[in-house]
Symmetry: D3
Amino acid sequence: MLDTFIEAGKLKKLPRMGWLLRGVPHPESVAEHCFRVALITLFLADELKKGGVSINTERALKIALLHDLAEAKITDLPLEAQNYVDKKKAERKAMIDILGAEKVEYFELFREYEEEKSLEGRLVKFADKLEMILQAWEYEKAGIKGLDEFWNALEYLEQNEFHKYFGELIEELKELKGY
Amino acid sequence: MLDTFIEAGKLKKLPRMGWLLRGVPHPESVAEHCFRVALITLFLADELKKGGVSINTERALKIALLHDLAEAKITDLPLEAQNYVDKKKAERKAMIDILGAEKVEYFELFREYEEEKSLEGRLVKFADKLEMILQAWEYEKAGIKGLDEFWNALEYLEQNEFHKYFGELIEELKELKGY
Amino acid sequence: MLDTFIEAGKLKKLPRMGWLLRGVPHPESVAEHCFRVALITLFLADELKKGGVSINTERALKIALLHDLAEAKITDLPLEAQNYVDKKKAERKAMIDILGAEKVEYFELFREYEEEKSLEGRLVKFADKLEMILQAWEYEKAGIKGLDEFWNALEYLEQNEFHKYFGELIEELKELKGY
Amino acid sequence: MLDTFIEAGKLKKLPRMGWLLRGVPHPESVAEHCFRVALITLFLADELKKGGVSINTERALKIALLHDLAEAKITDLPLEAQNYVDKKKAERKAMIDILGAEKVEYFELFREYEEEKSLEGRLVKFADKLEMILQAWEYEKAGIKGLDEFWNALEYLEQNEFHKYFGELIEELKELKGY
Amino acid sequence: MLDTFIEAGKLKKLPRMGWLLRGVPHPESVAEHCFRVALITLFLADELKKGGVSINTERALKIALLHDLAEAKITDLPLEAQNYVDKKKAERKAMIDILGAEKVEYFELFREYEEEKSLEGRLVKFADKLEMILQAWEYEKAGIKGLDEFWNALEYLEQNEFHKYFGELIEELKELKGY
Amino acid sequence: MLDTFIEAGKLKKLPRMGWLLRGVPHPESVAEHCFRVALITLFLADELKKGGVSINTERALKIALLHDLAEAKITDLPLEAQNYVDKKKAERKAMIDILGAEKVEYFELFREYEEEKSLEGRLVKFADKLEMILQAWEYEKAGIKGLDEFWNALEYLEQNEFHKYFGELIEELKELKGY
C-alpha cells in the first residue's frame, strides 16, 4: 500500500499540461484537480440521491480519487500528445502496475470512468469536465487569456444525462463567463 | 453548490504552512494534501473492511474530503499560530459559512474528524498524520533538511487504535527513514 | 536579538494572502511589503517635517519596520479569515512573544500603529494602504485582473488626515488607474 | 516557419520530467537542456575536427537543436512513462507534423540522432548524456539528493566511441562527483 | 571545456530581465531565449541558402549559441541598467575570461554578433529581435500586459537587410499582434 | 515621490543574485533582504544607544532603507559581474536618477553607506553582512549546500569596530553553523 501512496504523491508534482502549455504560470497539479473533482462528485452524488436517483456514492468517490492515478506513471498528456500516443492503452497498463494484481476492484472502478460504463463513472466524468471549466474561469478571473477552448466543454455538460439534475448549476457556471 | 466548489478552489492556492515556514521551496497546497489523505483513507478503509471491521467507507471518504475545507476561509494556520488563535472555534464557524445552513450532514462529518468522534473520523485523522509523515520523507529524499519534528507523529500512529491493523505499513514508513 | 532576526526572516517566506487568494502568481511576501511601507514612510515623514509638521521620523520608521512583525507567528491572515479569528488579540500576544518582555518600547510602537494612537502610527497606516494600492496597480499593469476592491482603500486615503499634505500624491495614484 | 518557432517555444514551458519527478524544485525546461546540449556539441565537434576527425559541425549543431523538438507535441516523457507509450513512434510522427512535409532534411537529421546513424547524431547523443550528468551534479551541488541513478550514464560515456577523444573531460566530470 | 559548460549552465538560472521587471511571473531564462534564437537562425540561414544567398550556416549557428554567453558573468542587464554600465566593454572582457585565451575563434564569432560585422552576425541579431517579439506575443496571448514597447523592434526587423527575404514571416508576426 | 515608490517596487522582483547563481530555488528578493537589514539596524542602533554610543538611529534606518535602492536600476550584480562593471560608479549615477536632483540629503545618506563614512553607514554595512550570513544559514538549514563562502563574512564581522558591542550576537551566529 505504501508504494501506491508514494505513486499518488507524484500527482502533486505533475502539472496539468493544458494550463501549462497555454502559459498559465505555476498551474495546478493533477492532485489539486483530483481533489476538487472528488469534492464535486461528493456534492453531486448526494444531490442525485436526494432526488431519488439510485447512485452508489461510495463507488463514485472511489472512482473520482482513482480516475487520474495512472498519470503518476504516464503524466498528464496534453490533448495534442494524445494524437501521437495511445493514452487509453497506456493508462490501463499503468493502472494495473500501480494497483497491483490483487486490486482488481480498483481497476474495475477506473474502467467505469474510462469507458463511462456506470452511472458513477459517468458522474465523475461530468464532475471532471465541470471542474476543468471552473478552473478555466478562475484563471481568467485572475487575468489569464487564451482559455476559450476549455469552455467548449460546456456543450458536453449541457448535452449530458446529468443536465436535467444540474441544469441550474450549469447555468450559474455560464453566467460566470457572461454567457 | 458552485460557491462551495469555488471555496474549495482556494485550497489549491493555500500552501501547507508547516513546509513553507521550514523553507521548502514551492511546498504542496492544502488541496494536494487532502487528495492523498482521501486516497489513503480509501485504501485503509477497504483494508479494515476486509479485516472484518465495521466501517462506513463512504462516510470516511466524505470526511477526508471535507476535513480541511475550513482552511479556504482561515488558511492552513501553522502550529505556532495556533498558540494565538482559537483554531477549532474558527474552523467550526468557517465550515458553517462554507457549507451553508442546510448542509448539516456535512458539518457533522467535519465534527467527526475534529473531535475524533467516530471510527471514520479517527481513521481520517490517522490518514492525515500518515500522509504528513510520508510527505516529510519525500521532501527529505529530495534533499530538504530540518523536518525531523514531523516524524514525531510516528508515535501518534504507533499508539493509535489502528496500529493493530496497519502495523506493517507503519513499519515500512519507519524503514524509509531508517529507523 | 538573533531570535528576533530569525523570526523576522519568516516574513520573507510568508505570502501576502490577499494577492495569493486572488490568483496572483508568486505574490509578494510580507517582508517585501514592509520594506516599501518603510521606504514610503521615510519619504512621507520627511515631507511632513519640511511642511512644518512635528513628526518623529525615527518613531515612524520603527513602527513601519515592526508593524507586521507579528505575522511571523500568525501569518498574514486574509480579510476573510479575520471574520473567524481575533486578529488584533493574536497580534498583540504574538508581538509580546517575539519581542520578549524587556522590549516594552517596541511593543508600544506596535500599539501606536494598531490603534492609530499617534501621528507616527497613523502615518504608517496611511503608508501601508498607499503601498497596497500601488502594488495592486503594479499587478494590474502586468495583466492581473480582479483587484478592484483594493482600490476602495483610495477612499481611506482621501478622507485621511494626511490627505491635505499628500493630495497630489493621491491624485497621481488615481491617475495611474485612470480615475 | 513561424509555426515551427511557436512550437519550439513550448520547450521553454515543458519541464524535464526526470528532475521534476525526483522533487527538484523548479527544474530546468527542455529548451534549457537543448541549449547546453547544442553548446556542448559545438565545443566537442570543433575539438574532434582539430583532432583530425572528419565531422560535419553544421550537421551536428542542427541535430542538437532539433533532437528534442518533438517534445513540443509529446512532452518530455519520463523513463517510467516510456514503459507504457511507444515514445520513438510518437516522436517520429510528431516531428513530421512539426516540420511539415517539405522539411525532409530536418527529419533526416532527427533520425540520425534517434537511431545514432551518423557520427554527428552519435556525438549529440553523447553530448545529451554528458549534459544530463552535469546538470545532476549542479543540482546535487545545491543540495538536491536522490539523483544517483543519473550518474549511471557515466558508463555510457566511458564505453562510448568518443571516449578516446574526451577521456579527460569525462574524468573531470567524475572528479566533480568524487569518483 | 567543462568549465565553459558549467558557465553556460548559469544561463539556465539567469532570468531575462526585461520580462522580469515588467512583472512577468517566472519569466524565461537566458538559456531558453538562446535556444530558440539558435533554432530560428537554423531555419533562416537555410532559407537564405535556398534563396541563393552565400551564408555560412555553421558560423551563424555558432554565433547564435555564443551570443549571450557573457551573461553567465555579467547577467542579462536590462536596458535601464545599460545607462549606468558599459555593457559592451563588460561583455567583451567576460567572453575572454569564459572562453579562455586559446579560443580566439569563438571570441571572433561573438564579435561578429556584437558589431554586426558579418552576414552571419547580423542574421543572429535579426533572429534575436524576432525571438524577443515572438516571446512578447506569447506572454500577451496568456494575458500579460504592458509589453508594447517590445513590439517597437518590429521596425528594426522591417528596416533590416533581411526584410526582403523574410517579409512574409514579419507580416505573419504582425498579424499575430493584430497590426 | 510616486516614481521613487515605483522604482522601489522593482526591488521586490529583483532576485539576490548570489543565491540565484548557487542554485537556491526561488531566492529572496532585494526588498526582502533590505527589510531585514533595516530591522537589524533598528535593534543594533538602539542597543548601541543603550550602551552609551552616540548614534543617530534615524540616519541609520534611512541608510538601511536606501542602501540598495540603486539596484532598481542596475539590478543586484553578483560578485563575479563586479569584475566587469564599475558597480560603485553605476550605483552613484543610478541613485542620483532615482532620487532626483533635490534629494541631496538621501544621496548623502547613500554615500555614508557606500564609503562607510559615518558610524551609521558602517553600522548598516555590518547589519548587511550579518543579514547575509543569517540568510545563508537559513538556506543551509533547509538543505541548500554550497554556501560556505558566505560564511567568510564572519571574519568581517569579527574584525569590525562593532564587534566589541555585538560579540555575543556574532558568537550565537557562529554556534548556529557549528563553529
